[in-house]
């Protein structure tokens, strides 16, 4: 089914590192522009929003790995950990820029924001929930936790939904951009209950046994 040329195995590792390098570029570039006074208007807000938006993009990309494999036969599973961790780092940078650059460490204001503003409470919840996922995004944790790892990492569904909601609730008018992310996350989440029946149906139809590797099948992200 895959029509793309497959990446030689020896490049798998380097390609993941390349993804990290490319993934951090939006933040690095925006930080450089902000620090050198080249972000127009409200530089701190621009930076903060850019980090949040990229966090959401990486969450969407993380969730897209499974459906892309199911529907198009492209196995990009090797990139999922990097995408998920990039999402975590961007959420963390998003929060740090809010705390350090935007609020200038005015803790009473920060605590009041987190406690009283539902969209900030939701965003903060997403960040907190991402921490255990980031900490267990390594082979050792996967081995150690076994099936519990899969269960734990289903939190990403809640996190992505929270992220899209946080974005939509933060703006004065919910526009096409917010609707796009809500729709993307909704579609990607909706795929999860559909995928097993779909894969079974496709197997029966083609009469071919198990097109996918059984262990990766289980680790449905």
């Amino acid at each position: 089914m895959a029509v793309l040329p497959t990446l030689p195995k020896r490049l798998h590792g380097p390609s993941v590192w390349a993804l990290y390098a490319v993934g951090f570029m939006p933040a690095a570039l925006a930080f450089y522009l902000g620090a050198t006074g080249q972000l127009p208007g409200n530089a701190v807000k621009e930076f903060e929003h850019l980090l949040g938006l990229w966090a959401l993009r990486f969450l969407v990309a993380t969730l897209a790995i499974t459906p892309i494999r199911d529907l198009f036969g492209l196995n990009w599973l090797r990139y999922r950990r990097a995408l998920g961790l990039l999402a975590f780092y961007y959420v963390l940078m998003h929060f740090l820029s809010y705390m350090l650059l935007d609020q200038m460490l005015r803790f009473p204001a920060i605590v009041a924001d987190i406690a009283r503003r539902p969209f900030i409470t939701i965003g903060m919840t997403a960040l907190v929930l991402l921490i255990p996922l980031a900490l267990t995004s390594n082979n050792w944790s996967i081995r150690k936790l076994g099936q519990r790892w899969n269960k734990l990492h289903r939190l990403v569904y809640l996190i992505a939904a929270a992220g899209a909601l946080h974005f939509a609730m933060s703006v004065k008018i919910v526009g096409p951009e917010q609707m796009l992310y809500i729709a993307l996350v909704a579609l990607l989440l909706a795929w999860r209950p559909i995928r097993m029946p779909y894969l079974r149906w496709r197997r029966q139809r083609s009469g071919i046994a198990r097109p996918h590797h059984p262990t990766t099948e289980k680790a449905a992200g």
């Binding site: 127009p40 208007g41 409200n42 701190v44 200038m104 933060s170």
Partner: protein, 270 residues
């Protein structure tokens, strides 16, 4: 934008002016799009001349005023703080005249209690007013109590930084009420009506729990989704410096305007 002459005015905030670059490139003007850069980038097709402002409702002498006529009023330069409801602020040298000067010409009737304003609707020139997604119902509407409208601080601005208004700033004529949040400062005005009842206001109708009719700058009353206690001064401090400052009651104009609201609960009438 053409050069514009104006007399100096005692209404002059003693704070650093926000660079003209920022004043003309960081705007909320949803008729041109919801992004801060949209108004400057997408208002090129807008034609601020010819222009007339219609004044009707409860007035003895309704009529229309051409923009040339309005530019002929004795103009003053007023350096005001501008506090957006989104918790950012600027200091802007406006050119304009007191709204009261215009109201005097049309002679409001004794029954008039409020002043209603309307922005132009031109989907062919204002990209935010056409297409599938439209953020607000048009025309944009705003309103003031008559005594607020007559207050000497309330002006109709026709320029800033010594020039006629750029399209993104609300050319050719807009309202400036410095003690209220920026969204009260309706842009590109085509109609002013004197009414007996509270006029409909766009943001107030869109989200009544977030944007009140009065919309007086008040650090003690938070927006439901953010604190109004502090503000970011645009164009200052940069990335690492502290450009966040305390927001002042009535945006620092309490001495002049607090008496307008004597006895009112400002948390209920936000």
């Amino acid at each position: 934008a053409a050069a514009l002459k104006a007399a100096a005015s005692p209404y002059r905030v003693d704070e650093a002016l926000t660079p003209e670059e920022d004043v003309t490139s960081y705007n909320n003007f949803y008729e041109f799009g919801t992004g801060k850069a949209d108004p400057a980038a997408r208002s090129g097709a807008f034609k601020p001349t010819p222009w007339t402002v219609k004044i009707d409702g409860l007035v003895a002498k309704p009529g229309e005023f051409g923009i040339e006529e309005l530019l002929g009023f004795p103009l003053e330069e007023r350096v005001y703080r501008m506090r957006c409801v989104e918790a950012w602020s600027m200091v802007i040298p406006w050119l304009g005249f007191p709204l009261a000067t215009l109201l005097d010409k049309v002679e409001p009737l004794g029954s008039a209690k409020y002043v209603a304003f309307e922005t132009v609707v031109r989907p062919e020139e204002m990209p935010g007013q056409s297409g599938l997604f439209q953020p607000l119902p048009w025309p944009y509407r705003e309103g003031l109590r008559l005594d607020e409208a007559r207050h000497p601080l309330t002006i109709l601005a026709v320029g800033l930084y010594g020039k006629t208004l750029a399209n993104q700033n609300g050319a050719p004529v807009r309202l400036v009420v410095p003690w209220k949040y920026g969204f009260k400062g309706i842009k590109s005005i085509v109609r002013i009506s004197l009414t007996e009842t509270v006029p409909p206001c766009t943001w107030n109708l869109a989200a009544p729990s977030e944007y009140g009719f009065y919309a007086n700058v008040n650090p003690a009353v938070d927006h439901p989704r953010w604190s109004q206690a502090t503000e970011n001064r645009i164009g200052e401090g940069g990335f690492f410096g502290s450009n966040r400052r305390d927001t002042l009651p009535f945006n620092g104009y309490a001495d002049e305007v607090a008496s307008l609201y004597a006895g009112m609960d400002l948390a209920a009438n936000f």
